[in-house]
């Protein structure tokens, strides 16, 4: 019950924020120079046809009117059309978002698998090789650009060793992709029982997921380490130690108490990566949502950009809600 009230309050706060985001991005995007009508028709179009198209697109009306029309469409789930793909933005995004989500979800799982154990191990001792390694790993992971690491991995694992497939999309050209159900190629090929497609999709996921995992393990490591240090010095852990509980049990209690803040950093990273994984997407020609938005900005194709902002805002909202529910599950103090 308390949970429901909490969620209700959160959603209430989000509506004006969502409106603000759409408002700001609308006017920002409208400031981008470049006339979509001219770009769609090409340089040889006549004045008359450009003027006609501008009327049809509604771009000759005052901005406030355009914004009203856009909001009117958005609440009905219509995000306009992209002139580059000539398809409705909603369709494009529903096709591309699963690609991005599959990538960043797996990437973050790898990041947790690296960062969390390392952080716990580093927090247990003040000096030594593990501690030193963790300190440098945290700083270096934050210093290396992800698109560069992706290139280095491609060079080593594709060019030199030939272990991974070429960095061209999510699945081999020669392999027929499984029928789309969830949009995630791994899940879809599992559902279709298509082993060949599954292996190909996993192979293509390997390097981008590794890139994101190695880079994002840095912040997770730092957060785990600092929280664990604080927890290990806290009174309830000292009490547990004084009671003579075995080290393993004490450590398990400390890890349990540190989980909420690790969850926080993971959710922040998730929200950031929806748009932040775009550079890795570009390197691997992933065809994800971030790439779609960047192409939109660079080609004055405004609806995809706005659509992406709306989608990722809604998605971050959903993620933060899920995280809040997980807090309730993880942290007994939240339940009151």
């Amino acid at each position: 019950m308390q949970v429901l009230r909490y969620i209700g309050r959160r959603v209430l706060f989000v509506v004006p924020q969502l409106f603000g985001i759409i408002l700001v991005s609308f006017f920002l995007v409208k400031l981008i120079p470049g006339d979509p009508a001219v770009m769609m028709l090409g340089p040889t179009a006549s004045e008359q046809s450009i003027a006609d198209l501008r009327d049809k697109l509604g771009v000759s009306k005052p901005l406030v009117v355009q914004f009203g029309r856009y909001m009117h469409d958005v609440v009905r789930g219509d995000l306009g059309t992209s002139w580059q793909t000539t398809r409705p933005v909603t369709e494009d995004l529903f096709q591309r978002f699963p690609a991005t989500l599959e990538l960043i979800t797996l990437g973050l799982l790898v990041a947790i698998a690296i960062g969390f154990p390392l952080g716990v191990a580093a927090a247990r001792r003040k000096r030594g090789a593990v501690r030193r390694f963790a300190d440098y790993y945290g700083l270096l992971a934050g210093a290396v650009p992800d698109f560069w690491l992706a290139l280095v991995l491609i060079f080593v694992f594709y060019t030199l060793l030939g272990w991974s497939p070429p960095p061209l999309g999510r699945i081999d050209m020669a392999v027929i992709p499984p029928p789309t159900i969830t949009g995630s190629l791994v899940i879809d090929s599992l559902l279709a029982g298509d082993l060949r497609a599954l292996l190909s999709a996993l192979g293509h996921l390997l390097l981008p997921v590794l890139t994101l995992g190695v880079i994002n393990a840095g912040p997770i490591l730092k957060m785990t380490q600092s929280t664990m240090e604080r927890t290990l010095n806290s009174e309830f852990i000292r009490y547990a130690e004084t009671c003579g509980l075995p080290r393993r049990v004490v450590l398990r209690q400390a890890v349990r108490a540190a989980l909420p803040s690790v969850l926080t950093i993971v959710s922040v990273l998730y929200g950031f990566l929806i748009g932040g994984a775009v550079l890795v997407e570009i390197v691997f020609s992933w065809g994800g949502a971030g790439q779609y938005a960047v192409q939109g900005v660079l080609n004055a194709d405004l609806n995809p950009v706005l659509g992406f902002v709306v989608f990722s805002a809604v998605l971050s909202l959903v993620i933060y809600l899920i995280v809040d529910l997980l807090y309730f599950a993880l942290d007994p103090r939240m339940r009151g």
Partner: protein
């Protein structure tokens, strides 16, 4: 506070003592020394670049394209025949200018707005409404996908150094705004603020003379880390083609130019600028970590305790 004699050299000038303390810290934490060395090195390279590069950083010699690292071109040449060493050494000029200016602008604007917002928050006047509006605006700005936002800003202002600086300043401002506001909210309750008010000082002079100097420390500690982060963002913008214009020597755009070569086996055009970039950001992160320790009295005491 009760003055405590820490060491015998109280007669020494405070500057000398500070320097000795710094030297002791650097001996105890060699990583910090490494950070300072990297940052100073990069700044020197940025200043001296035109005199130390072996070739023109934007001069392409089509006869020697994609030459592997060798005696004539220490780091090799790229796909158009430009010398990679010269370009890697010239890049800090662009990257540091953008990152430092962008960070300083965001810190300046963000801290000022944050101080004003924090100072007036909770008053029952129109200023309160303004404060709330500013904070909600910051919420909205931070809810944006950073990278797409930055690219859109560059697209709005046109592709130039100025617009990249503006974009970086814009996306970083909310960080300083929040830092400063939190600090000021705590500081404005102190007696010396009241005393200044009773003495008849105007709000502006209280802010400038008493509030901001006492609240600025966390923002300063954030600067160095933020510069590194801004370098990464600049490189990312150039990588997608929304940053500096192509032949300008800049690490991110160099990595992008060598992208296709890496797949076919010529790793050097992309790998070297990436290493330079990573080292620089690493250096700034270390300096940031040292500032964090030195600015925090508790951790500073722990450190001087271990110094003996």
């Amino acid at each position: 506070m009760i003055p405590v004699a820490v060491s015998g050299d109280r007669a020494a000038s405070p500057w000398l003592r500070r320097l000795r303390f710094l030297a002791a810290v650097l001996r105890a934490r060699p990583a910090f020394a490494l950070g300072y060395a990297i940052v100073i090195g990069v700044i020197l390279i940025a200043l001296l670049a035109p005199w130390i590069v072996p070739y023109g950083p934007m001069v392409a010699d089509p006869n020697v394209y994609l030459l592997p690292p060798g005696p004539r071109h220490l780091l090799g040449t790229d796909g158009t025949g430009m010398d990679i060493l010269s370009r890697v050494l010239s890049a800090p000029r662009v990257d540091l200018t953008i990152a430092v200016l962008g960070t300083l602008i965001s810190a300046g604007i963000g801290s000022c707005i944050g101080a004003i917002v924090g100072y007036y928050e909770g008053e029952r006047t129109w200023r309160r409404a303004v404060s709330t509006a500013v904070m909600r605006a910051a919420d909205v700005l931070q809810a944006f996908p950073v990278f797409v936002f930055a690219i859109a800003l560059v697209a709005v202002f046109g592709q130039s150094l100025h617009s990249i600086i503006i974009a970086i300043a814009f996306v970083n401002t909310p960080i300083y705004l929040r830092l400063m506001r939190t600090q000021v909210l705590a500081i404005r309750r102190y007696r010396y603020i009241e005393a200044a008010y009773v003495a008849g000082a105007s709000d502006l002079s209280i802010l400038a003379r008493h509030v901001i100097p006492n609240a600025i420390a966390p923002a300063l500690a954030q600067l160095s880390v933020n510069i590194g982060w801004a370098i990464l963002l600049t490189a990312g913008l150039s990588f997608v083609g929304a940053g500096v214009v192509a032949p300008t020597p800049e690490w991110g755009s160099m990595i992008a130019m060598g992208f296709q070569n890496v797949v076919t086996g010529q790793w050097w055009p992309s790998v070297f600028p990436g290493i330079a970039l990573g080292l620089t950001v690493f250096g700034f992160a270390l300096v940031g970590a040292s500032v964090e320790v030195l600015a925090d009295p508790v951790r500073r005491r722990v450190l001087s305790g271990t110094l003996g």
